[in-house]
């Protein structure tokens, strides 16, 4: 990315698209009147005779596919039960005119299409057929006059009072991939997919309002009429988002990474300033870890937007070189949501921003891989068991949080399912984020933590600024780690197999069980037995650790293919405990309580939880006693 619009640096991507957009934002109507000039260069090797475009903001209309799905299966901010239509959530992208430069106005030829569900009322995708097909190597230029009407913030985008988060706000062309256009409708559970290119955006909006955007600011002019015009340039990115708010406080810093110094710009809500150092520390920590583990961050700037209160639906979102965070004025230090959000969204600069997978079809490839690296980064920065909540009352780590999401829906949907076809938003989240992360964590137990990270590094290097698919990922990982892991990918990515290894039976009995002689420690020989059951359908090699009362420990291995396996030891010691997965690395195991067995009962945990149960009952009784 260059410091100015004029100074272009060497391309990092194939730069299929070049967007030049000029718009005037009306802060009273929350609408942007803009003109977009899109230059599309055909690098597909195929002659293109039609062009589909996204109009994402049209999703926020009552009969759209997005709203219909939100009501039926939920969306990221509301469940299906709590979803309801409110007029303030209306949004639209209205194309006033569309011209193909050199071929004239083709507005009347615009045709809305619904490739995913045939919903004739959905207007989130339109197609245009140019008078002349575009041959490989040729370019076509579209000039689009459009009005973006923002909703009160819903699903990442919109306004709240004076705050505006403008995401998915301009007509965006689809991606021609594998011989066909990929331009899905906007769904309640899906995100986005676009081609790399350059963006030059000029926005006119109220004077003195702070503005943040993808890329870097290249100019600012006070127009003397109560407005200002601000220019931004971004390159080798596939989207452009911007935000404005008169109230924000700008916090700036920088970080020196291995390849360059990166400017950090945070737009903070005044009431959230206590979270600013937390955001900054998490962001810097994440940037260093990604630089060390995955690869260099190539852009000169990263912008962090702290949404206004009541606009949390705009929080926790990634755009190229701009991320939105999430906090509140009362956020306790022990709850690491601000840190987690910033880390996660920054991670998307790699898994989405640079490795630009198809978020409609393969959500796990950005959300899941990113969630895995989030586990690693948050572990490193905040501790393995305390990286989510670290309070005196209780602690929670990333793995535990993901497992609680994943376990209840483990066998509903495979990772490979297209985003809008999941049973509901809960399953989409639990599978795309949690299962993927746990799949990668579990992989560490099979091939080693460093090997997994090495594989991810190689995958990143190979596919940055490209659009890899699941097969590309698995092939790259197999090659990088030097093993064929297809048996693992088949179960974890393409299947709904669940992992639940357990100790079915364990115990010790005298070998001479018929003898009436007294037992003598160190002399009597015992038949020790452990039966491990594969209760789930996932086949993974099993490690069993058995401990004996003479202090000895043994580790045994089983390929985990049959439904159960019997382990036997005849020795002068009795079994005191047995545990499958003794390193606690199989986080895909949906029930960790049945992984172990101890000969002696330890009633402290059950006593503690039951004690709290008793106490809660007593207090409920007390509360009701107000009636007596």
């Amino acid at each position: 990315m260059a410091a100015s619009g004029a100074a272009q640096s060497a391309p990092l991507s194939d730069r299929v698209v070049a967007y030049r957009i000029e718009g005037v934002y009306n802060a009273k109507t929350h609408a942007l009147d803009a003109t977009e000039i899109l230059t599309y260069t055909n690098k597909t090797g195929t002659t293109l005779d039609r062009f589909p475009f996204h109009l994402y903001l049209n999703a926020f209309q009552p009969k759209s596919t997005w709203e219909t799905e939100a009501k039926r299966i939920g969306q990221r901010d509301t469940t299906e039960e709590s979803a309801r239509w409110e007029d303030k959530h209306y949004g639209s992208n209205e194309v006033k005119s569309l011209e193909i430069v050199g071929a004239g106005d083709v507005t009347k030829q615009m045709k809305f299409v619904s490739p995913d569900d045939g919903n004739v009322d959905d207007r989130t995708v339109f197609e245009i057929v140019p008078p002349k097909p575009v041959k490989p190597g040729e370019s076509i230029q579209f000039k689009i006059h459009f009005v973006a009407k923002f909703p009160e913030v819903v699903a990442r985008s919109g306004y709240k009072r004076d705050f505006l988060m403008a995401g998915q706000w301009f007509p965006k062309v689809g991606v021609f991939l594998n011989g066909a256009w990929n331009c899905h409708q906007y769904h309640a559970t899906t995100e986005f997919f676009a081609d790399f290119g350059t963006f030059d955006v000029k926005l006119t909006l109220p004077a003195k309002w702070n503005v943040g955007a993808s890329g870097v600011q290249t100019g600012a002019r006070d127009n003397g009429d109560g407005t200002q015009t601000v220019s931004f340039h971004a390159e080798d990115v596939h989207d452009f988002a911007w935000t404005t708010d008169p109230a924000t406080i700008v916090v700036e810093d920088s970080i020196k990474l291995s390849s360059r110094t990166v400017k950090i710009r945070m737009l903070m809500q005044p009431a959230h300033m206590a979270s600013a150092p937390r955001y900054m520390a998490a962001l810097k920590g994440a940037m260093r870890k990604f630089d060390e583990w995955i690869g260099p961050y190539p852009y000169p700037q990263i912008t962090v937007v702290d949404p206004a209160h009541g606009a949390s639906a705009a929080g926790g979102m990634e755009y190229p070189t701009l991320i939105t965070a999430d906090t509140s004025w009362w956020m306790p230090k022990s709850v690491l949501i601000p840190e987690l959000t910033v880390e996660h969204e920054f991670g998307h600069q790699y898994w989405y921003g640079m490795v630009a997978t198809n978020e409609f079809e393969d959500a796990w490839m950005d959300e899941g891989i990113n969630s895995y690296v989030q586990v690693k980064v948050m572990d490193a920065l905040y501790g393995k068991t305390t990286s989510y909540v670290n309070s005196r009352l209780y602690t929670l780590g990333q793995r535990g949080a993901y497992l609680t999401d994943y376990a209840p829906v483990a066998d509903l949907d495979p990772l490979s399912r297209k985003g809008w076809l999941f049973v509901d938003d809960g399953s989409y989240d639990a599978i795309s984020y949690s299962k993927s992360a746990l799949m990668m964590v579990t992989l560490e137990s099979l091939i080693g933590e460093k090997t997994v990270m090495h594989g991810l590094h190689e995958y990143f290097e190979r596919y940055k600024f490209k659009h890899p698919n699941p097969a590309d990922f698995t092939a790259a990982m197999n090659e990088a780690v030097g093993q064929n892991l297809d048996w693992y990918w088949k179960q974890s990515i393409y299947g709904t197999e669940t992992l639940d290894d357990c100790i079915l039976k364990a115990g010790s009995e005298r070998v001479d069980w018929y003898s009436k002689a007294p037992e003598e420690k160190g002399v009597t020989v015992y038949h020790n037995e452990v039966i491990v059951q594969r209760k789930g359908t996932f086949e993974l090699p099993v490690v069993l650790e058995a401990k004996f009362d003479d202090g000895s420990t043994v580790r045994e291995h089983w390929d985990g293919k049959d439904r159960w396996h019997r382990f036997v030891w005849d020795r002068k010691a009795k079994l005191v405990s047995a545990e499958v997965d003794p390193e606690h690395g199989y986080w895909l195991d949906r029930d960790r309580y049945n992984n172990s067995w101890t000969e002696k009962a330890d009633r402290r945990a059950s006593g503690k939880v039951a004690g709290y149960w008793t106490l809660l009952t007593q207090w409920l009784e007390q509360a009701l006693s107000w009636l007596a």
């Binding site: 709240k160 009072r161 809500q269 009431a271 209160h309 009541g310 509140s328 004025w329 009362w330 068991t385 909540v389 005196r392 009352l393 209780y394 602690t395 929670l396 780590g397 793995r399 535990g400 949080a401 497992l403 609680t404 376990a407 209840p408 405990s577 545990e579 029930d591 960790r592 309580y593 049945n594 992984n595 172990s596 067995w597 101890t598 000969e599 009962a601 330890d602 009633r603 402290r604 945990a605 059950s606 503690k608 939880v609 039951a610 004690g611 149960w613 008793t614 106490l615 009952t617 007593q618 207090w619 409920l620 009784e621 007390q622 509360a623 009701l624 006693s625 107000w626 009636l627 007596a628």
Partner: protein, 300 residues
């Protein structure tokens, strides 16, 4: 006033057998309600190494995974909790007659006397409790409405903290009003017992005025504050106990429970003492409206 608070505290102290009995029933019912859960928990946790996550610390993930287990049947177990709570409520209503008699007469009753009075007044106490659902229900409904409004303020008002301020402020007011309602009904209970009054509704109507004029509300505030402070102190102490100290945790939280029971009895004792010190014609009653106006405002 302080003297009266002290003297009613003295009543609770001298007749602390009541506190211990109520606590014992409270504890036993709590323990009984936890039995099914205790057995399920025991089956899952006692022979599992994973359970150490709930002993050496309190791992939120391990706890949620535990609660998600089908054999724990959290929902059906929770209905058992509600059931035992209702049993405790009926128990309290049953002994209310005896409790008020003890405080009104300031003497130990033997078991027969106590339960005779308990049985004598049970239906009247039950009726009063049913009547009390109306004002308490109105307060709960108002609190719900205000909380909803406060939530909207939290997202829509320009001042981010306004919603919370409204919510906390309204909850405080609702709590103060709930205390007033409790005073109103405690006075009615005390009068019903002292006068063996069968016109429960009439007594209730007239004790409403007393709730404002008796001067007892300030005492109720003081006792309520004591309950709040002991609760906060106990829970605060519990938070700082090390996780493996389950025994100490249990003791501290049970002490909090005892303090709450004692505070509730303290309120009853304060009402009983005040009613007990009034001459019958000083109390507002359908047959002596004027006396109410002139005498009931004078504290004992």
């Amino acid at each position: 006033m302080n003297g009266s608070v002290r003297s009613s505290a003295g009543l609770v102290w001298h007749h602390q057998r009541l506190v211990w009995w109520i606590f014992a029933v409270n504890l036993v019912l709590g323990w009984l309600s936890s039995l099914p859960a205790r057995m399920s928990l025991s089956a899952v946790l006692d022979h599992s190494l994973e359970s150490s996550k709930l002993v050496t610390g309190f791992d939120g993930g391990a706890f949620v995974m535990l609660m998600q287990r089908p054999e724990l049947r959290v929902r059906s177990l929770a209905s058992g909790v509600v059931g035992t709570s209702l049993i405790f409520l009926v128990y309290l209503l049953f002994i209310d007659g005896g409790v008020f008699t003890v405080y009104l007469e300031d003497r130990e009753l033997n078991g027969t006397e106590f339960f005779q009075d308990a049985a004598l007044f049970f239906w009247r106490m039950l009726r009063l409790a049913l009547y009390s659902i109306v004002p308490f229900g109105m307060l709960v409904a108002a609190d719900n409405d205000i909380a909803g409004y406060a939530r909207r303020l939290s997202t829509d008002a320009p001042q981010e903290r306004l919603g919370l301020i409204v919510n906390v402020g309204s909850k405080l007011i609702v709590l103060l009003l709930a205390l007033l309602v409790r005073l109103w009904f405690d006075l009615a209970q005390a009068q019903v017992v002292r006068d063996d009054e069968r016109d429960v509704f009439g007594t209730l109507l007239h004790s409403f005025k007393l709730a404002f004029t008796s001067g007892l509300y300030v005492k109720y505030l003081g006792i309520g504050s004591f309950a709040a402070v002991t609760f906060a102190a106990g829970v605060g102490m519990w938070v700082y106990l090390p996780h493996p100290a389950t025994g100490a945790s249990f003791v501290v939280l049970e002490l909090v429970t005892i303090a709450q029971i004692a505070s509730r009895l303290w309120l009853k004792a304060a009402s009983a003492r005040w009613v007990g010190l009034q001459t019958p014609d000083a109390l507002p009653a359908p047959w002596n409206e004027t006396a109410t106006e002139t005498k009931s405002t004078t504290p004992p």
